[in-house]
Symmetry: C2
Subunit: 430 residues, 2 copies
């Protein structure tokens, strides 16, 4: 098959005309499709409805330790919730604190606390002339929003299939004391779906940052979010918390996990796993900030999911539903774009996204064109700090939310937009 | 009846001996009583168990506006939750944002945000040499902990039965630009149970602070927490949000309300009511900090309590249970301490506390003596910034948590400790 780049101008113009007619046709349908965010689909949400039955007016409201969990207290979380979430993280319950419904808030608050109070006695970041974070790109837009909000300078580090380029990371943190952190989604990364290799994780644990208050923000958002039930098709991620401890850097990492995409987005529970020293610092802050998190919801989760076996069983069903959606997108991309030279995409084995690389300078135009015909995609550039993709080529595809029927339409429209914009770009470049 | 101060030394010594014997007897019982915090009692918690049935696996998970509330979105709260909480505050839903399970977190985050980002474009407080808050005393220890945590200097303002001494408040905020806020519990105040008079509230709304970024932190924690069902026995509080608007100071106040002591502590929902400008600032922060609060729990609350009539009906039952507990304490205090000249106490018509004023220099000793015999009270001084009561006389009594039987024992032990410590103090002073 011929790539678009090798086609003659007349061929491209003729193709363009056919595609444009098809585009106008679809546009006329008045579609309203949303692939903008990693939102679970309705069938996925249905899987967790049973959780709402685990606590009712007849329930025993005492937890395993005999405490009435309806009242104040146990600010660091119910022991059973710690146990279950620690298993999900692959760490020990004693290293955890259970939080509320959004792990993003733990991260935000940790950065905010570092700004006002420093990290374990270091100078508060707000008093420093310059604070920088490393940002593997493409990455998670909401991470970058946090550092942007606090005026922290973001340094781009390229992602590879094995994780961030560790040569760059090692060099930068060793040389520059103003680098205070790095954002990581180490498993089924957002948006590419890459899982950091064992070597990458090892190298993270052995980092020698110049700044004593440097922290790895290890957002293990998709820890148990496999697309496949077969273990050999699941990515494995070593436990960074113990690796850091073994490397003598136990305070260097904060790990975050949540059930937002296990049970209900917005009504889940989440956890931080870290060293005893960091835990103390989190707790000090926490005890001033809140009277505690929602323990009834913690109990609801542990009574529903029970333990890691329960989580696995539940996530197997989630994976089945998600995989079907991913396949619809992959099929469409393969059928229409394979070998055309106008885009590549990833094949993650878990998580919520497919990352699409368009030709340079095309992503914004593709997203705009899709929107014009009723398909909302994540804004182009969102996966980069300040919303600026230097190559304007990355598009994050979130297949989970639309129905299968909608997804097919969305896929068709998407490839059409890619083709149209690419032809224009090729002609423009000639 | 003779006051202790008028008794002869021998009489006091003889009395002391009898009381000490009784104290030792009680101490021997090995009691374990907790009156340290405003925790609802078990019968109170039971009143809200029905709420847990309002959402189960068979429930319609779409809210009034047809949105599936299990998924992401509606970061500022469900419309029905806004409506209900706005009614509780006595304001308009458009002026509210619904938050998670702890209004304390909204306050903490507002102070934290002011430190890092300033208030509506003002210099971030962390960059100022000095930031001060006014603290009506005695007051709520957790408010003072927040300002202490951020290194904000706290200036004591005496409370009166009508609220803070407004002559002092007006003068200080007018003169001193470093005063950026004031902590208020305007209704059934913690710990005295005083409700600010209409005049006090008016004077608050008409404050002319030198600092443009001065904010009133109006923690209406006990907005609907009446002890009596009869309206004429309930305190009324004017709506500060509209009064501030009318006075041309719409941005000057943040009002907070929560259901922590309506339904379940730690599993409630809460709200901020404020001007459009302030709302925008809260939302800007919120959209970076979180993916939204627990909307299922918001729906649970609105389906259970429904509206202000529902809230009133529910709180009537809460009030009945609470009043019985307050009466046990009052009875004991009256029976044993009335006219003795060694203590006075308040008779609030709502809220969670009775405030006890011991003789100067006695509070710490009384609390320690009670603890020694198995009764944990709020640490003496807790109602003052830095935990330091200048007179060492104030003790906060929280009658709701113990059972009636425990409460009687606790009351007996408490008055005994007051008597013993007071005798020592009187003899020492002679």
């Amino acid at each position: 098959m011929e790539t678009y780049q090798h086609m003659k101008k007349e061929e491209l113009l003729a193709l363009r005309e056919r595609l444009a007619a098809k585009y106008e046709e679809i546009k006329g349908l008045g579609l309203s499709l949303d692939m903008s965010r990693g939102k679970p689909g309705e069938e996925q949400l249905a899987l967790s409805m049973g959780m709402l039955d685990t606590i009712n007016s007849g329930s025993d409201m005492k937890n395993d330790t005999g405490v009435d969990i309806r009242n104040y207290g146990q600010v660091d979380g119910l022991p059973e919730a710690k146990r279950m979430l620690a298993e999900m993280v692959g760490t020990d319950p004693s290293q955890t604190i259970v939080f509320g419904n959004a792990s993003l808030s733990i991260m935000f608050d940790a950065v905010s606390r570092s700004m006002t109070h420093g990290v374990m006695g270091s100078t508060p970041w707000s008093r420093l002339d310059k604070v920088k974070f490393l940002c593997p790109v493409p990455g998670y837009d909401r991470h970058f929003s946090i550092t942007e909000y606090f005026g922290i300078e973001m340094i781009l580090v390229p992602m590879t299939e094995n994780g961030p380029d560790m040569d760059i990371v090692e060099k930068l943190v060793k040389e520059d004391e103003t680098i205070k952190g790095i954002w990581c989604v180490p498993k089924y990364s957002n948006p590419q779906g890459y899982t950091y290799s064992a070597e990458t994780v090892e190298r993270f644990a052995r980092l020698e940052p110049k700044a004593k208050d440097f922290r790895i923000f290890w957002d293990n958002a998709y820890a148990v979010h496999h697309l496949y039930a077969e273990e050999e098709k699941q990515d494995q991620l070593p436990d960074i918390v113990s690796l850091c401890r073994e490397a003598g850097h136990e305070d260097m990492v904060y790990e975050f996990v949540s059930t937002s995409k296990v049970t209900f987005p917005g009504s889940g529970i989440c956890v931080v796993a870290t060293s005893e020293g960091n835990r103390k610092e989190f707790l000090q802050h926490l005890k001033i900030q809140t009277i505690g998190h929602d323990k009834i919801n913690q109990l609801r989760h542990t009574r529903f999911l029970k333990d890691m076996d329960g989580v696995r069983e539940h996530m197997k069903k989630q994976g089945e539903l998600t995989l079907v959606k991913f396949k619809v997108v992959w099929d469409e991309l393969e059928r229409e774009l394979d070998g055309m030279g106008i885009g590549t995409w990833t094949y993650p084995r878990g998580g919520y996204f497919i990352s699409f690389e368009a030709m340079e300078g095309c992503a914004k135009a593709i997203v705009a064109k899709a929107k014009e015909a009723g398909l909302v995609l994540t804004p182009a550039g969102a996966s980069f700090p300040y919303g600026k993709d230097p190559k304007d080529s990355n598009i994050r595809i979130a297949p989970t939310y639309p129905s299968l029927d909608e997804l097919e339409k969305a896929g068709q429209l998407f490839v059409l937009c890619v083709k149209l914009v690419s032809i224009d770009k090729i002609l423009e470049n000639r």
